[in-house]
Structure formats: structure tokens, C-alpha cells
Amino acid sequence: MAGIVVIAEALNGTLNEVSLELLSKGRELATSLGQPLIAVLAGEGLDALAPPLQSADRVVLLDDPALGKFTPDAHEQAIAAVIAPMEPRLVMIGNTTAGMDLAAGLAARLHWPLAAYCTGVRMEASDLIGVAQLYGGKLFAEVELGSQSVIISVIPGSFPAVAPGGTGVIERAAVPAGKSRTRFKELIALEAADVDIKKAQALVSVGRGIGGPENLDIVQDLARAIGAEVAASRPVVDSGWLPKARQVGKSGLTVKPKLYFAVGISGAPEHLQGMKDAEFIVAVNTDAAAPIFEVAHLGIVADALEFVPALTERVRAGA
């Protein structure tokens, strides 16, 4: 047998976006290989979650009360049991929390190689090539994945998502009776009131370039529109416009969000020290020579008071 297997993920009753991203890449590979694309989803009460995965040729459901909540042990046992006999060419898993356990766990159980942190995978003639992000994004590795069954874990956002739905066959696989050595106790939701800008995925950070505290509203509007938290540079906090808990930089917090939006921040080294490792940095400043543009990925020379509201409006219109 052969095929491309996508391990879909639905932790709390909702399908993770990365599953659809994997299906789109999976389809591309399956087509060029002339092999089937198989989605595997483990959980409980999966009837409603299967249809969005039907762009795969087969959707294999491991539907069992024992898999209702994610535990690495139970999920690995069940998934290993169903994919081992398939001997797929490639297994794709999202590099999420669960994916980290599953990818390496399955690799260890099945003795299949694993390439982690992939941002790309492609066919070159008959060779399967993965591209993995290493060393904090400083380097990428092009890896020959070999001709045996191989697993890759893929960083979310690497591929566009496929449209949900399709005509694939939904089947239920037997879940082998086994004892999980790891048990789920309870789910702990995020405490609503606490702001921890270190944990925020996106930050809109303001500097003195926005003029005065009366202009904070426009920044807060943008943050709300893109689902970010508001952070600040030292002068802003010093001036008492925002609390210390939101200060980024040497004397504040070091943050590494996926998106860092620097508004009116010129980029003192003390500030850069606290945010230079953000994955993607966008800077808006009136001064084209501001040092912030040296660490930013995207730079916009504009008046923040003009640009930010325009962006907010655009985001709201498009959402």
C-alpha cells in the first residue's frame, strides 16, 4: 500500500486549521505521486468533524470515548495501529502541541524517520524532499526523506488551507483496546483578566511617536481588530500612558510573538533587545532612518495617526 496520510487534529471539538493546510499540500503530493490522500482523525463523536476533511480520498475516524480528550499515549496507540498497515509514503502532522507528541511518538513506535519543523515538502523526480526550519529560523534544511514511510511535522501556516468538504469516503476504524498510561483530568481555560504580553501571539506596540495618550484609542482599535494585545516602549510606560506590565524591552519584558507591530517606535537598542526575536515585525514610523527598520521585516514610513486607523478599517472590512 501507499498513500499520503494527514493526521488531522481536533482537540476541543473544533478542527484545527492546520489540518486543512496539510490536506491541501497532501493533495498536491498525492496527485503527483498518483497515490491516495488519507485523513486520519482521532477523538470522540467525530461525525460533525469528518465532512470538512472530505477533500481527502478517505477519512479514517478513530472515534472512541477513550480518545475523547488528547493524551499522547492513547492517541499514538490508536493512530499507530491504523496507519502502520497502510505503510504510507508520507505522514503529515501539524507541529502543534499534540503534533509534537504524536509525530515523534509515532516515529519512535513505528521506527519511521521523522523530519520536524517542516515548512515545505515536495517531489523531485521520485524523491520526496522536506524543507525544515532550524536554529530559530536562522537556517533551513533541505532533507531527503528517503523511500520508506516517513513522518513530517509541519509548522502551522506553511501551506494555504484547502476548502473544507469534498467527496472522500468516511470510514470508521476499530480502536484497539489498550490502556493509556496518561489520563486526562481537566481542561483549564485561559484566565480572562490577566494580560500577559509575553504569551500574546500578536502585539501592537506603541512608542512616543503616537504623540499622546489621547491617541491610544486608535492603537487599541487595531489590536482588537487583529486579535492582538497592546504593548509599549519605555517612554510610553514612563509617561504613564500604559501600565508597566505592557512594557517591552530591556527594562520591561522580552517578547517573541508571531506578529509585532511597532507603531511610532524609533527602536532604541533597549527596546529592540526585548522584541527583536519576534517572528514577524512590522514597523510604522515617520522617520525612514529609524533603527526599528533594521530589525523589522516590513517597514512603512507614514504618520501612525493616519496609517493605523486606515489599516484597522481595512482589516475590519476584510474580516
Binding site: 521523522l114 529560523g137 533541505e142 512603512i300
Partner: protein
């Protein structure tokens, strides 16, 4: 309760990473190594558990240049034992091999719980902790914090953290391997004078790697390459409307923002 913390050196990312001639690996001679940050978190969590529960903490590492310093630092911070697994390990050893060597060493020790760093910047072939659990046949949980061992019940409870801030309380039978995301407090500082004192007063235990069948990662790195330069931002030109459109497009492309176009 015996806690084991595997420590691993990884290339220091503040250095410019240069490649070997073939372009398939880093120029290992030019590298400066440091302790994997997450391993430091795992060590800290173990040391906190030592203080709160009386557990013993053993730091373990495969032999490598400068590893002595790392192990002595662990002792200076309060680890009870430091074990160096000796053998002929090539620099940049893959995690499959490292996991199997460590598993061999772990079998010779009384270990209830292994605390690993959840990941390292160079685990191309999977995270060490999970692979180690696989080699030992032990259960594992990754991305954890708030570890509470209950040796009477033979279990450990921990929080597994998910994207977006929610987490699950999981209970795992011992022995087990946990991939630590963050300790409950920042890793402590070991004063240089304390480390120097420890170097004079204490010894590292050495254990030879058990020869055995090692299944390597089977991955073949064809080339390493650098992503586009970060030296200067790509400047978005035009009027504000144009800049907004370009920015939205770039954010979409990057996947950090989903906005309909």
C-alpha cells in the same frame, strides 16, 4: 523520587552560523555551543521539585566539548549528581542516536521521571524527550509546565499547554518523560565562584555508552540555506491606501493575519 534531566548543547544562535564546505551541515569547528534553553527550564523545574518534595536530581549529558562546564553548573545550581555518558559521539549527533544512547544509560540508573527541554533549535529528527520515551517504552507528554509528581500514587500530574493559552491537566504513570516548556520560575543563576568551587569539590560521574543497535534518523540533509536577509525591512511604498493593501497582503502571505482580500 529520582529526577533525571538530560542536558544538551546546541549552537549558540547569537553567533553567525556558517556552513561546512558541502553546505550540508554547520561548520562545527567555528560553532560556539550553549545549553539548550528549554533544558535549562527542565533543570530549574527539577531543582524546584527537589526543594519542594525532596526529590533527587541527576543531570546527564552525552560527552561533548564544554559539557563538563554545563554539568558542573548544574551541580552548582543544586543538582545532586551529574553524569557524563562517554563514548565517541560526533558533533551534531542526531536525536534518534542520542535518545538511544541516553536510554541505555537511563536503564542503568534508578529513574522515576525524566524532565527534558520540550525542544531544541536543532532537533531536525524529532524532539529528544519523546524519542527517549519511545526508546524506553515510557509514556511521554510534551509542552508541559506545573509538574507535580505523586510518588505514593506512582503518577505525575502536569499541565499540557496548547496554543491560545488553554491547557489540560494530565496524569501520567511513572516512569515517564516530560517535555518541559517552562519552569515555574526563571532558571536560577549560578555564580561563577560557586561553579569554580564545585569544580574543585565535586566530580562528574562517568558512564560508558552501552554499545547496542542504534537506529539513526535516516534523514539525509541535502543542503542548509539561510532565509532571506533580515538586515533591513522591506519598505512599503506608495500612499497610505496602497501601503495598507500591501501590508494586508504580506500579512496574509505570512499567515500571521487572516484578512479577506
Amino acid at each position: 523520587m529520582n529526577l533525571l534531566v538530560p542536558l544538551k548543547l546546541v549552537p549558540d544562535l547569537v553567533e553567525e552560523l556558517t556552513l561546512n564546505e558541502a553546505g550540508t551541515d554547520l561548520d562545527r569547528d567555528a560553532l560556539i555551543y550553549k545549553l539548550n534553553e528549554f533544558d535549562d527550564q527542565a533543570l530549574e523545574e527539577a531543582l524546584v521539585l527537589k526543594e519542594t518534595t525532596g526529590a533527587t536530581v541527576t543531570a546527564i549529558a552525552l560527552d561533548a566539548p564544554e559539557i563538563d562546564q554545563v554539568l558542573f553548573t548544574a551541580l552548582a545550581k543544586g543538582a545532586d549528581r551529574a553524569v557524563k555518558v562517554t563514548g565517541d559521539f560526533e558533533p551534531g549527533i542526531d536525536n534518534h542516536t542520542a535518545a538511544q544512547v541516553l536510554a541505555g544509560a537511563v536503564r542503568g540508573q534508578q529513574v522515576d521521571l525524566v524532565l527534558c527541554g520540550v525542544q531544541a533549535p536543532d532537533d531536525l529528527d524529532g524532539q529528544l524527550g519523546v524519542l527517549l520515551a519511545g526508546a524506553l517504552g515510557w509514556p511521554h507528554v510534551s509542552v508541559v509546565s506545573g509538574i507535580e509528581p505523586d510518588s505514593a500514587a506512582g503518577v505525575v500530574r502536569c499541565h499540557q499547554e496548547y496554543a491560545g493559552g488553554s491547557m489540560a491537566l494530565l496524569e501520567t504513570e511513572l516512569p515517564a518523560v516530560l517535555g518541559v516548556q517552562a519552569a515555574r520560575q526563571p532558571p536560577r543563576y549560578a555564580a561563577v565562584s560557586t561553579i569554580r568551587k564545585v569544580m574543585k569539590e565535586k566530580q562528574l560521574e562517568e558512564v560508558a555508552a552501552t554499545p547496542g543497535e542504534v537506529v539513526a534518523s535516516k534523514l539525509q540533509v541535502r543542503r542548509l540555506f539561510k532565509p532571506e536577509s533580515r538586515a533591513h525591512a522591506r519598505m512599503l511604498e506608495g500612499d497610505v491606501t496602497r501601503q495598507v493593501e500591501d501590508l494586508v497582503a504580506a500579512l496574509n502571505e505570512r499567515g500571521v493575519l487572516k484578512v479577506g482580500v
